[in-house]
């Protein structure tokens, strides 16, 4: 039993911190820290900085541009970047499509697409969910019919995060409507500029445009863009959903958000004293901090098991549930801390360069919107109900 990182790992942490201190633009970190909107340019800039250092695709094999890190190094990197208020790495190309191509793509596909993910030539988005197929992902209907050297795609995808910025979309499509639902699905790469692709914004309850519907009408896709075998797409989809979930608890993000909450609770006043020392609020903070400390160790336990050759498996479902519960509770308490000032919402105040006088405390502007937005954490990416189903089957064996 040893909960400490090795001296090599601590040296690596120092290296990451130094890199962040030198390379993470303060302008961008400030926006992340204060809950301002990031633009596409901000995200592209940060990807480029990481890529220049060779740290963008940090779980890829060395021969494809990965840095050759251990799971512990990746964990340290995730935590440190979050604590430094770096933007998250947009996962669609690097963490989702990349691993699928590495495992199932042809050499030609790897050589064509992987470098373009790294250098930012393609912004990828994900075409999984459909209006009728949410938790029941395999119930998807979007159809691709082979026609000569092309597939012709018709149908709809939804909840496509940042699809408005995307050059490419990887899609699950139905290629055999007669097969059992998991067996007629293929994995297709589609150029968003193809005729017949239409992106429509979905505005979320906080007024933000973050997700989209994507419609396909007679969209022609070269058959060369089929990944792996036709009708085997479900295998690749599942691989993608279970791959690289060591950061699924979002420990670094929650640590940073909890620090911010403590800052807010220290600054807010109740009867002249910091809210943080009010017995009721202090108890809420303490419970949350203890939950977070416990989850950090649970996360490290899973990590250590992976490092020793174990598979993360269904334990990552526990991490997903508790991780999102903790993150949601952090945003709920931050909202609660604001008292009446949770109500005003000046959307423009979240844009860079806004210089209106803040309403109430200067940290108040994004808080309630973030609380509402973060309701998604327990819904998207496999709802917490689906995670409980996984635990039921794989861990409880009921």
């Amino acid at each position: 039993m040893d909960l400490n990182f090795t001296s090599e790992e601590e040296a690596f942490r120092a290296e990451v911190r130094l890199f962040l201190a030198e390379q993470l633009p303060a302008r961008i970190a400030d926006k992340v820290r204060t809950g301002k909107r990031l633009t596409k340019a901000d995200m592209v800039e940060w990807h480029a900085i990481l890529n220049a250092r060779g740290w963008l695709a940090n779980h890829w094999p060395v021969e494809w541009g990965g840095p050759g890190w251990s799971v512990v190094q990746r964990y340290i990197f995730d935590v440190e970047t979050a604590l430094a208020h770096a933007p998250r790495i947009i996962p669609f190309g690097v963490s989702m499509l990349g691993p699928v191509l590495l495992e199932y793509g042809s050499d030609a596909q790897k050589q064509h697409w992987l470098p373009r993910i790294l250098d930012g030539s393609d912004w990828w988005c994900q075409g999984y969910s459909e209006p009728g197929a949410g938790s029941d992902l395999a119930g998807l209907k979007c159809a691709a019919v082979r026609d000569g050297d092309d597939y012709v795609v018709n149908g709809q995808k939804t909840w496509t995060t940042l699809g408005q910025f995307a050059d490419m979309i990887f899609c699950l499509v139905r290629t055999d409507p007669k097969a059992k639902k998991q067996e007629g699905i293929s994995f297709l790469l589609i150029d968003m500029k193809s005729p017949g692709v239409e992106v429509r914004p979905i505005i979320l309850l906080d007024g933000e445009h973050e997700v989209n519907e994507v419609f396909f009408t007679d969209v022609r896709v070269p058959a060369a863009n089929l990944v792996g075998e036709e009708n085997k797409g479900w295998t690749y989809a599942k691989y993608l959903l279970t791959y690289e979930r060591t950061n699924i608890a979002g420990v670094g993000g929650s640590m940073a958000a909890f620090d911010w909450l403590k800052h807010v609770a220290g600054a807010q006043k109740k009867a002249g004293k910091p809210l943080a020392v009010d017995p009721y609020f202090a108890a809420r903070l303490a419970k949350l901090e203890i939950d977070l400390e416990n989850m950090k160790t649970t996360n490290l336990r899973v990590l250590a098991s992976v490092a020793h050759g174990g598979a993360p498996g269904a334990e990552s479902s526990m991490l997903k549930i508790r991780g999102t519960e903790i993150r949601q509770e952090i945003t709920a308490l931050t909202r609660r801390a604001l008292g009446p000032y949770a109500q005003p919402f000046v959307s423009e105040a979240l844009d860079e360069g806004y210089n209106g006088e803040p309403i109430g405390p200067d940290y108040a502007a994004p808080v309630a919107a973030e609380y509402f937005n973060n309701r998604k954490l327990s819904i998207f990416g496999g709802s917490n109900e689906i995670q409980r189903e996984i635990i039921t089957k794989a861990i409880l064996r009921l």
């Binding site: 809210l275 009446p340 819904i379």
Partner: protein, 375 residues
């Protein structure tokens, strides 16, 4: 013991409900809620004509209602339709203006709108954390200070403002109330949209000079009235909250019955069924809490304050549960602007940020328990 409303009150509720169903549908709400003014003066006038404002006040004030159950019936109906119009401020200020018959007549007719500007930027939900001062100047008064997050402040023609006339921060003695015309010199209103629709505002008072008649009620002794009118405001918010909960519950049940996944309506999944049973059960508890508070509103202070704090605590707790479960069970679609559900969830969540949240009222309930007066 009778849990039915009187015929008159039921008729009022039905009339209001019918009007809102016809004239204040979700599209209307969305238009009004994000509009520049953040409310509709036309709707306000129409509701006044229906007698809705009069129902909030007693006969001594020129109204024909004013009891806890009158207030709760009206705010339940308003809550069901997500009405953003300035009822809360009008209710709370108006109850303290019972002797200003001329003004109240206009208010009840819908031609004058009131705001209640009491809480201050540093004061959170505390009724006595007031730094605004009113100083005698000749016959009249000079007011200075700031008031925080006043609902529909821009809509108000008259603002009822509390100030220290002989006291200090954190004391209930020495407070007085002043009626401030919205266009008085030295008054600055900084309006902004609220995250749950409608608008609010910060009130800045800089050497606002008022006549002697600006003083409302007893000098230095306004606290009891303020506490009582806040109690009425809490009954209103709690009734609104329970109505919103019921909408969320019913919308979620409808969704569970119709949305299919894995070949069955998701309402067939027992884990969701049992969670919804808890939500439904808790909403009935919240409804009981509101009934208790409405019944206690016209009684003695100690029972009234215990009951309103119990109700605000309960609706805060159950409101969070209901809003979060409604969104969660809807999944992604529950997160969208397009669906009424998300707006109801936002409103319900924000009610907990008005007039004291769950923690504030639990603490207050505990403190009241240690006071003399326990039955």
């Amino acid at each position: 013991m009778d849990f039915n409303h009187s015929d008159d009150r039921q008729m009022l509720a039905d009339t209001l409900g019918r009007y809102l169903a016809q004239k204040y549908d979700f599209e209307t709400y969305k238009r009004i809620a994000v509009s520049e003014s953040g409310f509709s003066r036309e709707t306000w006038g129409a509701l006044a004509e229906l007698g809705i404002i009069g129902a909030l006040f007693g006969e001594e004030a020129g109204g024909f209602g004013g009891s806890g159950f009158d207030i709760s019936v009206v705010f339940e109906a308003l809550g069901r339709a997500l009405v953003v119009e300035p009822f809360l401020g009008t209710l709370m200020a108006g109850r303290l203006l019972a002797d200003r018959h001329d003004l109240l007549e206009q208010v009840i007719a819908g031609t004058s709108i009131l705001a209640f500007a009491h809480f201050e930027p540093q004061g959170r939900y505390d009724l006595t954390e007031l730094a605004t001062t009113a100083v005698r100047a000749g016959d009249g008064w000079v007011l200075s200070g700031a008031k925080a997050v006043v609902p529909q402040l821009e809509a108000a023609d008259h603002i009822l403002v509390s100030a220290c006339t002989d006291g200090g921060l954190g004391k209930s003695a020495g407070l007085s109330l002043f009626l401030v015309p919205a266009d008085a010199a030295g008054v600055t209103v900084r309006g902004y949209p609220m995250i749950d629709g409608g608008r609010g505002g910060e009130l800045l008072l800089k050497d606002v000079t008022l006549g002697a008649d600006a003083l409302v009620g007893p000098e230095n002794d306004a606290f009891d009235g303020i506490e009582a009118t806040v109690a009425a405001g809490i009954v209103a918010l709690c009734a609104e909250a329970v109505a919103v909960m019921a909408v969320l519950r019913d919308a979620t049940l409808d969704y569970l019955r119709t949305r299919t996944q894995f070949g069955v309506p998701i309402g067939k999944f027992q884990a969701l069924q049992h969670r919804m049973a808890t939500v439904a059960l808790e909403i009935e508890q919240a409804r009981s809490a509101v009934i208790n508070a409405a019944a206690a509103l016209d009684g003695d202070r100690w029972h009234r304050e215990r009951a309103v704090s119990a109700a605000k605590f309960t609706t805060g707790r159950v409101g969070t549960l209901t809003a979060e479960e409604a969104i969660q069970m809807h999944g992604g679609i529950g997160m969208t602007w397009e669906l009424p559900l998300s707006h109801y969830a936002k409103r319900l969540t924000m009610i907990d940020h008005q007039l004291g949240d769950e923690d504030h009222h639990l603490e207050r309930y505990v403190l009241l328990g240690t006071e003399a007066g326990e039955a």
